[in-house]
C-alpha cells in the first residue's frame, strides 16, 4: 500500500512515529521522514498512525 503524508499540513509532532517507528521517523532536525511504499502486513500500524496524527495529515492510498 502507498502511504502519503501531506507535508503542508504536517507539524512534525511525531505521534505517528510511536505507532510505527520503522515507517515514520523524525530526523535530527525534527522533520518527518517516512516510507511511502509499505507492506500490506503493516496496515493496522499505519491506520493507527493515521488516527493519532493531530493534523490528520496521513492517508493510505
Amino acid at each position: 500500500m502507498k502511504v502519503v503524508v501531506d507535508l503542508a499540513k504536517c507539524q512534525n509532532y511525531g505521534q505517528c512515529c510511536f505507532e510505527a517507528e520503522d515507517i515514520f521517523r523524525l530526523d535530527g532536525g525534527g522533520k518527518l521522514t517516512y516510507k511511502s511504499e509499505v507492506d500490506e502486513s503493516r496496515r493496522s500500524c499505519v491506520e493507527s498512525a493515521v488516527d493519532v496524527c493531530p493534523m490528520q495529515a496521513i492517508s493510505i492510498e
Partner: protein
C-alpha cells in the same frame, strides 16, 4: 441489537470503529447536537481561524467498516433511561437501545457576572469558529477573557491577523496550570514580544455594554474595551441529559479502567473529555483530562468493552497506559507535552534555554510525571517511553 453513541466528536467516532472492529454486528446509531460529522477541533483556534473554516477539510477520515453507522445530526439527546432502554432527542423523537456510549464531551464554561450575554464569543464548535472568524475579520481589537489553551491560541491567531489583543484572566500567568509558573511566565514574555497586553491575576466583575458586550470591568476597577470579546475560561462536561440513572456525575462520568460506567449494571461506557478514570501510570486518583489523544485511546478501549458486555462476556482488563499528550501552536512556537505536568511539585530546565527552544521536566518529589517542550520534538520524543515505563 442496537448501540447508541451519544455525542458526535472524535471519541464517538473511535468508539464506533472499535465496537465494529471488535465483532459487534448490530446497529450503531450516533447522535449529535451538532450538524457536522466528526471533525478535528484543534485547528479552530489556529490555522482554520486564521485562514478560513472549510468543514470538509476538518472532518476526520471515516474508515470503511464492515458494520453500518446511522448518524442523527443536529438533534441532541435530551434525556435517557437505562432501565427503560430509550432515549429522547431534543426534537422529541425516541430511540431504543441495548447499549450506550457516552461521548457528549464538554462545552465552554460561562462567567456568571453582570452585563450582556450577546457579543461574547466562545470557541468549541465549527459554528463558534465561523462566527468568531467573521467578527475578527472586520475588527481592529480583540479581548480574550481567560488565559488557558484556547485563550492563548486565539490571542496568537488574532495577532497574526493584525488585530491588537488584550488578555484578561484571574490566573497569574498564561497556561499556568499545565506549564507551571516559570514556563508560563516565559510564554507570557513571548506573547508580549508579539504585542499582546496582559491583565492577569484579576477577576472579571462585569461585562460592559448595553445590548452587546463591548468590554469588561476588572476587579481592580479598570475597564478594558475591544471590538471582539472571546470568553475562554474553561469547560463544563455535558452530563445533564444523564440525570435520573443513579450515576456519579459530579465531574463528568465516572468509569472504571475499561471505560465501563460505574454505578449501573447496564452496558454503558464513557469516552473522551467527559470520562473520569484513574490514569494508572501516574496514580489512582480518577481524573477527567481534556487532551486530544485521549478520545482515541479511550474510544478504542470502550468499543471493545461495550462489544464484550453486549456479548455477555467479561470486558478487557488492561491497565490504563495512556500518556496524556497536548500540543499548542502559538505564533512560530510549537509547544508539546507528555504526561501530567500539572500534578508535579517541582520542575527543571532539562534542555535548551528559557528564551529559546527548551525542554522542562516536571517532577513529583524526584519522580518524573511530565514534560513540556517548545520547538524541541526530537529531544522530547524519548520522554514518552520513559513515562510509559515508570509504572
Amino acid at each position: 441489537m442496537s448501540v447508541v453513541i451519544v455525542g458526535g466528536g472524535l471519541g464517538a467516532l473511535r468508539t464506533a470503529e472499535s465496537l465494529i472492529a471488535a465483532g459487534y454486528g448490530g446497529e450503531v446509531i450516533v447522535i449529535s447536537d451538532e450538524k457536522y460529522l466528526p471533525y478535528n477541533r484543534p485547528p479552530l483556534s489556529k490555522e482554520a481561524l486564521k485562514n478560513g473554516i472549510a468543514t470538509e477539510a476538518l472532518e476526520f477520515k471515516r474508515k470503511s467498516l464492515g458494520g453500518s453507522i446511522t448518524w442523527i445530526l443536529g438533534d441532541g439527546c435530551a434525556s435517557i433511561s437505562f432501565n427503560g432502554r430509550t432515549l429522547t432527542l431534543a426534537s422529541g423523537r425516541e430511540v431504543a437501545f441495548d447499549g450506550v456510549a457516552i461521548a457528549t464531551g464538554i462545552r465552554p464554561r460561562r462567567l456568571n457576572v453582570q452585563g450582556p450575554l450577546v457579543g461574547r464569543h466562545t470557541l468549541r464548535t465549527i459554528d463558534d469558529a465561523k462566527s468568531l472568524r467573521g467578527a475578527m475579520l472586520s475588527a481592529r481589537t480583540l479581548l480574550v477573557v481567560g488565559a488557558g489553551f484556547i485563550g492563548c491560541e486565539v490571542a496568537a491567531t488574532a495577532r497574526s491577523l493584525g488585530l491588537s489583543v488584550k488578555v484578561a484572566a484571574i490566573d497569574e500567568e498564561p497556561m499556568i496550570r499545565p506549564l507551571g509558573r516559570d514556563l508560563a511566565s516565559e510564554l507570557r514574555r513571548r506573547h508580549e514580544v508579539k504585542g499582546v497586553e496582559f491583565h492577569l491575576g484579576l477577576g472579571i466583575d462585569a461585562f460592559l455594554g448595553d445590548a452587546i458586550a463591548t468590554g469588561v470591568r476588572l476587579s481592580d476597577g479598570s475597564e478594558q474595551y475591544a471590538d471582539v470579546i472571546v470568553e475562554a475560561i474553561g469547560s463544563l462536561p455535558n452530563t445533564e441529559w444523564l440525570g435520573g440513572n443513579g450515576l456519579d456525575l459530579s465531574d463528568g462520568v465516572m468509569v472504571d479502567t475499561s471505560m465501563r460506567v460505574i454505578g449501573t449494571d447496564f452496558p454503558a461506557v464513557a469516552v473522551g473529555d467527559i470520562a473520569k478514570y484513574p490514569h494508572q501510570l501516574f496514580d489512582a486518583t480518577p481524573r477527567r483530562i481534556e487532551h486530544w489523544n485521549l478520545p482515541t485511546e479511550t474510544g478504542r478501549l470502550a468499543g471493545k468493552t461495550l462489544a464484550a458486555l453486549l456479548a455477555g462476556e467479561e470486558p478487557p482488563h488492561e491497565p490504563v497506559n495512556f500518556i496524556p499528550t497536548f500540543w499548542s501552536d502559538q505564533y512560530e512556537y510549537n509547544i508539546q507535552s507528555f504526561g501530567m505536568p500539572d500534578i508535579a511539585d517541582n520542575e527543571r530546565l532539562a534542555f535548551g534555554s528559557w528564551d529559546q527552544s527548551l525542554v522542562v521536566e516536571y517532577l513529583r518529589g524526584d519522580e518524573l510525571v511530565g514534560v513540556v517542550g517548545i520547538d524541541s520534538v526530537p529531544q522530547l520524543m524519548p520522554y514518552r517511553k520513559l513515562l510509559m515505563k515508570r509504572a
